[in-house]
Structure formats: C-alpha cells, structure tokens
C-alpha cells in the first residue's frame, strides 16, 4: 500500500518537475527561439516552487542542488516502479499530439491561475539582467506604470543598489547615461520595446514578458523611444 502511494506521489512529482524545465520534448525548439536570453535551470526550477521574496536570501545554489538530487532519485526509482508507463510508444498516442498537449499543459497552468483571479489576468515573467531567478507579475493588479515600477523595484531591490524610478524623466536620462537598468518588454509579435511608450492599457494587452536590461544594452532602444516618451508626457 505504502509503495503504491509513494509510487503515485513520485509519479506526480516527476511530471511536475518535467513540466517546469525548459527543453520539454517537442516544444524545445520553439522555446529556444522565443527566448532572447538564456535562463539557468536553477532559476526556472525556483519559479516552479514559487519562492516568495522572503526566501530570496536563501542560498539558491543549495536549493538547486537538492532539487537536482531529488529529481535524479525520482528518475531512477520511477524508472523501476513505472517501467510500464515509460515504455517506448505506450500509450500509443501520436508524437504530434503528445507534444501539443505538453506545450498546452505549460500554458494551461497559467490560465488556471488566471481563472482564480476572476478576470483574465495578465501574468508575465519579469527578468532582470544579473538576477539569479525570474519573477512573475500580474499586470492587471496595477493601474499605471508608476505602480508597476514601484512593485518591480521592491521585487528586485535585493539585487540592485538604488533601483531608479524609471518613469521619472530626468532619472531616465541618468539611467541611460549610466550603466543602470532600463525596463523593456516583448510584445505580442516578438519585438523588444521600451516600457512607457504606449498607454497603460495597451501595454498590459500587448506585453508578453518584461526584461530589465542593463542600460548599455538598451541604448539601441532608447533614443527613438525617448523622443516619444517626452511627447507622451501630458
């Protein structure tokens, strides 16, 4: 009996971890193409565990190591217990279908979280260059760029000294001239844009993910956007 429930638990956890890692079966190519920069395995695993900012102080490498060990144990044991389930070509489902469902499972977990918030939420990943792990924010919980900037500042405060308020015009100039951080986002068609150009609602609708870039890299984006930024000030 105990082995049975253990088997079930391990099976479930194995699936859970598998879904969290990048390069999941057929979706691997797609994922690699969409990513503009690499994420370490450790960061994505932590995302799965939904670490709060309190835990940010924990030694992440330690956590990643234990997770890796656990996963290896799981793989070895589940291989034994689930010998049948791991048989090649069983159940007989076309690889195309298996891959589609695997990709959808990843995104459906997000929509489950969205359902909980009652409205169609807008969870997007937020990365910051140099930070060891990513965060996720629901853009619908903010009403303006200022609120978002405050929230992001709090989230990533442990990683930067003096995260600037990026919507402040003069500070933005400082930011661009220095090697400080610039917020960018990827829109629905895959272009990387500077945050702040479009009205807030349009931004929420079109933002797929956020990346807080190091100022130097953002130079290409900033100058023409700067002009717009100034014009939009009203």
């Amino acid at each position: 009996m105990e082995i049975g429930s253990e088997k079930e638990k391990m099976g479930f956890e194995e699936t859970e971890l598998r879904l969290g890692l990048p390069g999941n079966g057929g979706s691997e190519g797609e994922v690699a193409r969409k990513r503009g920069f690499s994420e370490t395995k450790a960061t994505t695993m932590d995302l799965k565990l939904k670490l709060s900012s309190k835990d940010a102080g924990m030694d992440l490498n330690e956590k990643a190591k234990t997770l890796k060990k656990e996963k290896n144990l799981l793989t070895a044991d589940t291989a034994k217990h689930h010998a049948k389930a791991q048989v090649v070509g069983w159940p007989p489902v076309r690889s195309f279908r298996k891959n589609m469902l695997a990709v959808q499972k990843g995104s459906s977990e997000e929509s489950d979280m969205n359902k909980a918030s009652g409205n169609i939420a807008a969870f997007v990943k937020v990365s910051m260059d140099g930070a060891p792990y990513l965060r996720k924010v629901d853009l619908k919980t903010y009403q303006s760029y200022k609120e978002l900037s405050v929230a992001l500042g709090k989230m990533f405060s442990s990683f930067t000294i003096g995260m600037k308020d990026f919507m402040n015009e003069s500070k933005l100039m400082d930011v661009l001239n220095s090697s400080d951080y610039v917020p960018t986002y990827e829109d629905k068609v895959g272009d990387w844009m500077l945050v702040g150009d479009v009205p807030w609602e349009m931004f929420v609708d079109s933002c797929n993910r956020l990346r807080i870039m190091k100022g130097k890299e953002a130079i290409g984006l900033a100058p023409r956007a700067m002009g717009k930024c100034m014009r939009n000030r009203s």
Binding site: A85, W90, P91, R97, S108, V189
Partner: protein, 572 residues
Amino acid sequence: MNYFPDEVLEHVFDFLTSHRDRNAVSLVCSLWYRVERFSRQRVFIGNCYAISPEKLITRFPGLKSLTLKGKPHFADFNLVPPDWGGYVQPWIEALAKSRIGLEELRLKRMVVSDESLELLSRSFANFKTLVLVSCEGFTTDGLAAIAANCRFLRELDLQENEIDDHSGHWLSCFPDSCTSLTSLNFACLKGEINLASLERLVARSPNLRSLRLNRAVPLETLQKILMRAPLLVDLGTGSYVHDPDSETYNKLKTTILKCKSIRNLSGFLEVAPRCLPAIFPICLNLTSLNLSYAAGIHGSELIKLIRHCAKLQRLWILDCIGDKGLEVVASTCNELQELRVFPSDPFGVGHDAVTEIGLVAISIGCPKLHSLLYFCQQMTNAALITVARNCPNFIRFRLCTLDPTRPDPETMEPLDDGFGAIVQSCKFLRRLSLSGLLTDQVFRYIGMYAEQLEMLSVAFAGNSDKGMLYVLNGCKKLRKLEIRDCPFGNMALLSDVGKYETMRSLWMSSCEVTLWGCKTLAKVMPRLNVEIINEHDQMEICPEDGQRVEKMYLYRTLVGPRKDAPEFVWNL
C-alpha cells in the same frame, strides 16, 4: 459483355466509386482491364514501396488523383527511426516528367521536402488539392511555393504534420488572383501568421467552406474572418482567448449567429472557457466536434458545452471529461457514430482517465456507434460484454488501457472474454486494437469470429505462437497485422508464408522471431520485402542467425527491395 462498345463499359465503370470495386473489375478479362485502366482517375496506394511510380504512370495514363502512404503505422509511436524512408520526391519527379495531369495528391506518413513541394507546384497546371497527414520534412517555404504557383488551388489541408515554421509570410504568397480556395487547414503550424494576409485571403475566397486556424490567430481575427465567411461549414478556431466583457467578444457572439452552416467545429488550441458561450448557438447543428486539443477546457465546462450538441455524429474529446461527462454524452448525443477519447496525460500517469463505466454508458445511449478509440484507466470483461451486446455495429474498435497489461480489476482475469464478445457480436468489424492482460485465448476468439477483420494491432499479449497462428489461419480478410512485445516466434511467422502475399504488411517488434526466421521467409517469398530495422547497432556486423530480431517489417511488393533504404534497414 464484350459486344458493348468501350464507351459504354467506361460509363458503367464510372458508377463504381470505390477502389476495390474498380480493382475487381480490372481482373475480369483483358478487355475490362484495358477499359478500366484508361478511364481510371483516382488511385490509392497503401504502401508506397509496393509499386513504382513508373509502373503507376504506365498503367493509368489518365491519373488525376493519387493517395500514397509511406511509413508503417507504428511510426506514429516512435517505433520507427528517422530517415527510415517514405520519400515522396521520386513520385513527384516521375509524375512531373510524364504527361499526367495531376490534380490531387494525398499523402500520409511520408517525408516531403520543400523541393518536392516546389516541384509539385510548378509541374501541374491544374493542381487543385494537397492533403498532408502526419508528414514531415518540409517548411513553410514549401507551402509558399504551393500558394504562389498553384493557380487553381482549392484545398490545402495540413493535418498533424511536423512543419518547420520559418515565418507567416507564406500566406501572403497566394496571389490576389487566387479566389478558388474551398478548404484551408493550417492548424498544425506552430508559428506566427500574417493576419492581414489571412483576412484578405478569406475575403477573396467566396467558395471557402472549410477553415482551420492555428494558435497564432487570435479571437479578434476569428471574428473578422467569420464576418467574411458566413457560409463556412467546417471551422477550426485558433486561439480562443479574450475578455468576455470586451466589445470584441460581443461582436463575435453576434457574428457567430450568422454562421448557420457550421457543422464541424475543432481547434480551441488555446481557450478561455468563459468565452465558450459564444459558440453555444452553433452547437445545436454540429455533427462533428473535435476538442481533443482543447486542453484548456476542463470537465465541467466540457459537459456544459456538450449538452448543447444533440446532433453530434462524431466526437473527439480528452479523457478529462470523465465517466460522468461520458454519461452526459450518452444522454445528449443519441446520433453518435464515432467517439475518440484521448488521454489528457499522454505520459500515462492517468489521474483524470475514464473507465469502463463511461464506455458502458455510451453503448447504452448511442446505439449507432460504429467507430471507437478509447484510452482508459481500466476495463472489465463485463463491460465489454455489455458494450458488445448494445453496439453490434462496430466497424472500428480500438481500446487502449493506459497500463498495457492491466487485467480486469474486478476479477483479475485477462480481458479475453470481453474482446471475444466484441468480435463475436460485431460481425462487420474491420479494425481492432487490443490491450490489457490477454492470453492466447483472445486470439482464438478473433480467429473464430472476426471474419471481416482487416487490421489488427496487438501489444503485450498472448502466451505462445498459437496466438498468432489463430489469427493468421482464421482471419481471411486480414491486410495489416502489427504486433509488438508478444511471445510470437519463427514457428508462427513461417507457418503460412503465402498468407503474407494476401496482406499489405506485417510488423513485429520485440517478439521472438530470429534472424534465421526472417531470412528463411525472405528466401521462400521473393515477392515480399522482409526488412530488419537495426537500431542502435543491436545486431553485430555478422550476427548469428539465432539472434532475436528487434524490429521486422515485411510487405508485399512488385518492385523488389527498395533502393532508398538507410544503412540501419536491412533487406533480407
């Protein structure tokens, strides 16, 4: 009949639509053979290695429509290594060189390259229909060539292909003068699509009746498209996600009310369940519903949707519908003829799976059911016996227990008697797939009763050679037999070698046949290709005859060993 002029014979033959009938007619006498072959327009080739393109062209100079199948069925489940074969290139090259005015090409499990598609698009002025199912090897560049060059294209239907997606610009390659499209299905494409091009294409295609979108097409675009194509009969949505309080969604609701012709619905590759009510008005008229890729719709929402679909004849669904959901299907969809229940967790951990309870409910509520594909957590003999009694009209019966050797959980017996009841009751059964714990006894039943059986798929079943022998001796109409992980060996393989020339193909993997058995068969039957797939160098360079063969695929052929076999495929 040989005092009728040829034209009369030809006219009579025109009424024969099935390939089998026309094939039979051609065997009557040489006159009929001649008349038939010159008037034949549609040819079906179930195994592309059974015949050569040259022989095809010689015999049927009036060929307009060709269907070809390549890899063996088990290739769907990763049992056939890549580069095994099944290339369409030599076919297209040969046809292009000839005078054949090809108009339709349908391919399944074949390797198609961009080069092939390009050659196809430039070689046949009247080319109208391209259908690719489970194919691979091409990119959206190949599609661009088809779009650009086939001036009278009517159907472009891509089903579950592995396509390298370079960009969405291929849609823009349809010239403005192309207004002939009746059917466009690109649901399997993974990449972005030029939405404006898509809208314009739909706007200039007044005959469009079937449209299946991929996940890159958002709900806003769907609404605009439906405005332009209210006569659609077959719709596959792409991304069906939006804020149900938005204006766009309200527009969609109004637009859908105008689409009174939709009978087939599929897609929902991404879905926000709160937007589903917009489609309820068309559910009443649906005859076919495919939600097998709609992983975002959970059990209770599925059930709500199904309650609106009283006229369904075909339903493809995920097992998250549960037994309770199947009971709703049974009470709502009394016209149901075909049901497929796929595992929502294909790696087989199976939390949400359905059981025998759902199937029994279906058999009670849907007496017209004739085709079934059912992935389930468990099955019992009692349930199968009940189903057999309630639904004697099965033509296709495919059952897959997620644990391949699971016995009847109530009695711990094998499922022999249950499947036995199915074959005994369903006298028109043509296709059968077995699973669960099974002994030689189930094959005895199959040999005794399954007189019309043409295709049998077996895995992890049987105790001895007797099992396979029952089937080979009993099933007179058997055409395709595929076996994996069963204790069948040389004795069964060699018992009736002539049988294989009456069949299309035999697949045996992880069984007990040895190299000696395969070699012997190949020697005795020159019109069979007996191929060994030697993956991962399982066989040494000079293997012993006594060594077990991991994968064997044999098929009848008129053209000898194929010349495009890779080095890991040995033709004996």
